[in-house]
């Protein structure tokens, strides 16, 4: 309930509890919702205090005294009824006005024909991100330039998912057959955590989002790097891993630019080694974790569509060596 939020906000003065939350907005959209939340919290707190005070007062003041006296039989009072009916209507009307005001500022309707800067497709259980202007394709970790409002088109490849990064603003469903649009913007550089918010099956808990907002130049550099095709390894474990990758079932689900792997059932791996996490936020991206993941994905993300292939230890080493070249 909202009123207690104020209390906790005061207790939690070091600002760690609500670090990635509804109360740490970094975009104008999210900020306007936060303001609205505070207004509603104050109104709700006032009403709750009133009701609680009245109930407790009645409970202590009007207890039955042992004398067995009978209270006056009062059946009602239509003036009082009118007072609280109109009072409630006034509160509701006020809340409605602030709602409509925030609706416009927190979720601007895109002009017709506006092309999206980013197309996000939700899959069971990862996020595909395409940048139509530059042609970059990545997964789960979405880089955006600081201070720019980008229009995002949100789609689903299978069931209903929901995009939610609390610091950046509203959540919105990814629905098959019903593409949605929303604005993404971060006015401060940083990494913002989010997650799929609509239950979508066994992997729902590990369908997390990282939005990485970078200054324009840094973002441009990242984009440039993502467009490069990583060199093909020619020797050692990495070459063996590359061969295994291309000849085994990996290519039926994944894509690596510049190789025969072109599928998009699983995340694009062209620059997998440049990401911070694996399996949509399940593991920190280190060679060791990558090896664990390849050895048994079901151990870390039960239900994931990537099966356990019973790779030998050497095969895992080879694959990790290869994937680590995909920077």
């Amino acid at each position: 309930m909202l009123w207690a939020v104020a209390l906790v906000g005061w207790l939690d003065s070091d600002q760690t509890m609500f670090k990635n939350s509804v109360f740490s907005p970094v975009s104008p959209q999210a900020l306007s919702i936060t303001h609205l939340t505070w207004i509603v919290a104050i109104v709700a707190m006032a009403i709750l205090l009133l009701v609680t005070a009245l109930v407790l007062y009645a409970a202590f003041k009007f207890r039955r005294r042992p004398s067995g006296f009978e209270p006056r039989q009062v059946f009602g009072n239509s003036r009082l009824e009118k007072t609280w009916t109109i009072g409630a209507l006034v509160v509701v009307a006020f809340l409605f006005v602030v709602t409509v005001r925030t609706m416009r500022s927190s979720d601007r309707t895109p002009p017709p024909g506006e092309q999206p800067n980013l197309v996000v497709t939700a899959h069971q259980w990862w996020w595909e991100a395409r940048y139509p202007q530059s042609g970059v394709v990545t997964a789960n970790e979405i880089h955006i330039p600081v201070g720019r409002a980008w229009l995002v088109q949100l789609k689903s490849a299978d069931v209903i998912h929901d995009w939610w990064v609390p610091d950046l603003g509203r959540k919105i469903d990814a629905i098959p057959g019903h593409p949605n649009h929303f604005w993404i913007q971060a006015d401060k550089p940083g990494t913002y955590l989010g997650t799929c918010a609509e239950y979508c099956g066994a992997g729902h808990a590990w369908m997390r989002i990282r939005v990485i907002a970078q200054p324009e130049a840094e973002f441009k550099a990242w984009e440039q790097h993502q467009l490069e095709i990583p060199p093909k390894p020619t020797s050692g474990d990495a070459a063996a891993g590359n061969k295994l990758f291309d000849n085994f079932t990996c290519v039926y689900c994944h894509a690596v630019e510049g190789t025969p792997a072109k599928a998009d059932v699983g995340p694009d791996l062209t620059h997998v080694a440049s990401r911070e996490t694996l399996a949509a936020g399940r593991l920190i991206n280190t060679p060791e974790n990558l090896g664990k993941w390849i050895t048994d994905p079901q151990e870390y993300k039960p239900g994931a569509h990537m099966p356990n292939f019973d790779f030998s230890k050497q095969q895992v080493r080879d694959l990790v060596a290869y994937l680590e070249t995909l920077k």
């Binding site: 990635n20 919702i33 509603v40 709750l48 009645a58 409970a59 009062v74």
Partner: protein, 554 residues
Amino acid sequence: MSDIPFPGASEALPLPVPQERTTGLLGWLSSVDHKKIGILYLLAGLVFFGAGGIEALLMRIQLAWPVNSFLSPQAFDQVFTMHGTTMIFFVAMPVLTGLANYLIPLMIGASDVAFPRLNALSLWLLICGGLLLYFSFVAGGAPAAGWFNYAPLSEKPYSSTVGVDYYSLGLLIAGIGSVVAAINLIVTIIKYRAPGLTVRRLPLFVWMVLVTQFLIILALPALNASLVMLLIDRRLNAHFFQAASGGSAILWQHYFWAFGHPEVYIVILPAFGMISEVIPVFSRKPIFGYEYVAASTVAIGVLSFLVWAHHMFAVGLGHSLDTMFAVSSLLIAVPTGVKIFNWIATMWNGAIRFTTAMLFATSFLIVFTIGGLSGVSLAIFPIDWQVTDTYYLVAHLHYVLFGGTVFGVFAGIYYWFPKMSGRMLSEKIGKWHFWTMLIGFNMTFFVMHFLGLMGMTRRVYTYPNLHDWGLLNMISTIGAVIMGISSLLFIWNVWVSRRSGEPAGDNPWEAWSLEWATTSPPPVHNFDRIPPIRSRRPLYDLEHPDHPDWKNGH
């Protein structure tokens, strides 16, 4: 049998009471007596409450700390789906229907419901529906698509076990039972009121049950239609909710919530009714603003059909639809607020006795208000865009359904148990039950508001080790354990008191409605004589022949 000589008493309306086998297990199983059927409904609800409660505890154990592996996601998904489905359809519905079944004929001075055999049919349909749902555990896996079962996740390609089929069949069968029971109760209330019991004199519980039954016959068909469509999709490879072949995933949501929101009021209005009976009796005053409480119930009933898409603000329906549904949803706060203030005004200047029933009713006023206010915040759709589908919503719905419905039902059970059994529930165990429940409940669900605002979404089988998430989840889990212990205290109380509780007598609370004018428990035919009904409080009039309500124009 009561032998109070009621001046001007009338005969109970002659209604053919079917021959009853009155003894033994078979007597219960074959009964068409509304009182036995009512108790069977309550027992069925209690058994399912045990199942749903165990499911809740399993979830809370899994969520007690981050990256726990007590339950696999597949198991967790079945458990939370079954928890929600069970609590709504096989706990809230049967318990409320059971209380209505037991009490309505007694409160209106009838000897039974209009169709006693149909009444038994409704009960057994509900029980069969519940058993069918639970049979899925051994038939290949329980449903795991959530209690609102969104397509296309609930479609064959994404839910390949038979769980969703059992879910659909179980709810269809129970739903047909509910519609039949609703028709039965409406006919009973319209046709079998005792002489003098006009609409304006009906006890408020009867009023609210009547409105609820209309919600049932109008809302359940929406669920039945969607379940039938889903079954056709799943069993006959049809396309209703499959976007790839021209179907629509959003239609399921519209249909489900066209049922689902009235359903919320189906399970809360009868609890409002119980509160409206309990508070006056223990404050020794008539209900304040009877007409307003009754009329606000009708207003809530009508509005409940116009608010369904507030469950769908994240779908992206567009601002105009969002605005319309925000208006209707905000408006519901008005009649609800009116009720709260009328209940408080009833207590005002009263002579309040804090029995366990009254403790539950009083705390209901505050915890339900918390749930109502968070509901208002969710109707404000920019806030909903942030907090829907998070633990904030889980907190909200439990404050409404547990703090509202369950607290109301506990108040009702402590109040009417003496009538049903002839024995008082122990007040000592009752107070322990109340305080542990109040503490456990608030511990479990209060922290969930924060978790939601901090970014924890609902229906996750586990969560990353983010700042304070583990701590708050642990508090919630401890609260849930306290609630579990508290529920056992309640069951123990019922078990002990039904045999060795203090004898209740006809009217232990000095209450005023008709059910207290017969013995506890009442005879099969309910009444030998019905007191004259000249006001809303016939027993008050009998007690106070010098200043009865009807002489004061009430």
